[in-house]
């Protein structure tokens, strides 16, 4: 049994439509210590990391999934004759606001973006990238939005806490500022208190 653990896990992950969590695997394979499963998974990841593989194993959306390597995307798109589905900049912006701030109401999103977002929110709901995650305890009980499991899957995120952290974001900002500062006028340090804008989205994963 033990000897077959790795291939068994491989087979299971392969057939599963959705990323397969460790819990799920453990439930399927009875009487096997989690530690062993974890080890087998680790080995499997390594096997897939070998140079001449077209696939890799990744932890996304709370589970394990086999995916094709990015460099082969052009041929795969050709196989499927895929047309690109555009996501607009505004939509992407709203998506990232929702991702970092969920659960969040439309009014709150709009106050950050300074512009009406009804259409964009609708689009994101249709694409199943966000969902109504509850209702705010406020007049009118407005819907609060959160990201979906599909969002994690599409963006290759293990969970919400794998979103780029605040620190990374700050570094990015600095880079951009530095670029701009080529001009001169050093910024005084009136960085307002609200430093931690994209907080690591509170663990709403449902």
């Amino acid at each position: 049994m033990e000897k077959n653990l790795k291939p068994l896990i491989e087979a299971l992950i392969f057939v599963s439509e959705q990323p397969l969590s460790l819990n799920r695997i453990a439930a399927l394979i009875e009487d096997t210590p989690r530690e062993e499963i974890r080890n087998a998974l680790k080995e499997l990841v390594e096997d897939y990391q070998k140079e001449d593989r077209g696939l890799y194993l990744e932890e996304v959306a709370g589970g394990w999934q086999i995916r094709t390597r990015a460099e082969y995307a052009p041929w795969i798109k050709r196989l499927f004759k895929l047309g690109p589905q555009k996501i607009s900049k505004p939509a992407l912006e709203v998506l990232s606001i929702v991702a970092y701030r969920q659960p969040i109401t439309r009014a709150e999103i709009e106050s950050i973006r300074g512009v009406d977002c009804a259409g964009v929110i609708k689009t994101l709901l249709e694409k199943n990238l966000i969902k109504i995650a509850g209702r705010k305890d406020a007049p009118g009980r407005p819907a609060m939005y959160g990201t979906t499991r599909e969002f994690l899957e599409v963006f290759g995120l293990k969970d919400l806490s794998s979103l780029p952290t605040l620190k990374e974001m700050e570094e990015l900002e600095k880079t951009i500022k530095d670029e701009l500062d080529a001009e001169g006028t050093t910024p005084e340090d009136n960085s307002t208190g609200r430093d931690n804008i994209p907080q690591e989205g509170g663990g709403t994963d449902t």
């Binding site: 086999i66 041929w75 996501i87 973006r113 300074g114 512009v115 964009v120 995120l157 900002e173």
Partner: protein
């Protein structure tokens, strides 16, 4: 019939401000309010001249800017002993920074290996669920509408000063007409330069109609608009699926 263009591709006043800040290469913590306000109002004017449905938020921001400007112009009032007097720009800066964070976050997100664009999972032949959206690839539209308006502003500038009457009504028929003629051009050419679509000698109204037609085509996702590094904006027909970046093993024909 007046033709009002409602654009959900607009990114809003904060985006416009960030765009201007970047374009002018000024420090976000020390915004030269007069310059930025002036340019901001110019943009609004261009949008309005085309009957673009300038959302109330844009106008609100305009008045906020003017208010800040006037406050800055006032001599520091008797409160000389208060060096920590709040900068009237502070609230705006805070909002801009916050918004910029998410813009950056969005850019980071789209850079990831996206399922359906860069990586693919196995397609199940038989099981439930059926087709999923992710069967499509996801691309981001690169060009900000601000840049398009910016380019259009340049074109307007080049026009003779004669008809400065900005009030101008556009009827739907003419826009539809122009949409068709642009599509016609694109059915023959793979792409066309943005500025080549505007005939400098054409009446101002005609030029505005052309721009509205382009916006409408973009909104309907019938064209793709790209800007090369040297600033040239090109339009492509969207349905002729050529993958955007050259590195593809691309289709012969």
């Amino acid at each position: 019939m007046a033709y009002n263009v409602k654009l959900d591709i607009f990114e809003g006043p904060l985006a416009l401000l960030l765009y201007l800040i970047k374009k002018n290469r000024v420090d976000i913590y020390d915004i030269p309010i007069s310059t930025i306000t002036e340019q901001y109002l110019e943009y609004l004017e261009v949008m309005r001249s085309m009957n673009l449905d300038v959302a109330g938020e844009f106008l609100l921001m305009a008045s906020t800017l003017l208010h800040i400007k006037s406050k800055l112009l006032l001599p520091p009032q008797d409160s000389e002993e208060e060096p920590e007097e709040e900068d009237p720009r502070e609230e705006l800066v805070r909002k801009l920074i916050e918004y910029q964070r998410f813009k950056l976050a969005a850019e980071e997100l789209i850079k990831r290996r996206l399922l359906g664009r860069d990586v693919f999972k196995r397609r199940n032949t038989s099981f439930l669920d059926g087709l999923k959206e992710e069967d499509q690839t996801i691309e981001i539209e690169d060009l900000s509408i601000m840049e398009l308006i910016s380019a259009f502003k340049e074109i307007l500038k080049r026009l003779p000063e004669d008809t400065q009457g900005l009030e101008f009504t556009v009827d739907r028929f003419r826009v539809t007409d122009r949409i068709n003629s642009i599509l016609e051009v694109l059915s023959e050419e793979r792409s066309v330069r943005f500025d080549e679509l505007f005939i400098p000698t054409a009446p101002r109204g005609e030029i505005i109609v052309t721009f509205l037609a382009i916006l409408e085509l973009a909104r309907l996702k019938m064209i793709r608009i790209n800007q090369t590094t040297d600033g040239i904006i090109r339009l492509y027909r969207a349905d002729r699926e050529e993958n955007r970046d050259g590195e593809e093993p691309e289709t012969t024909h």
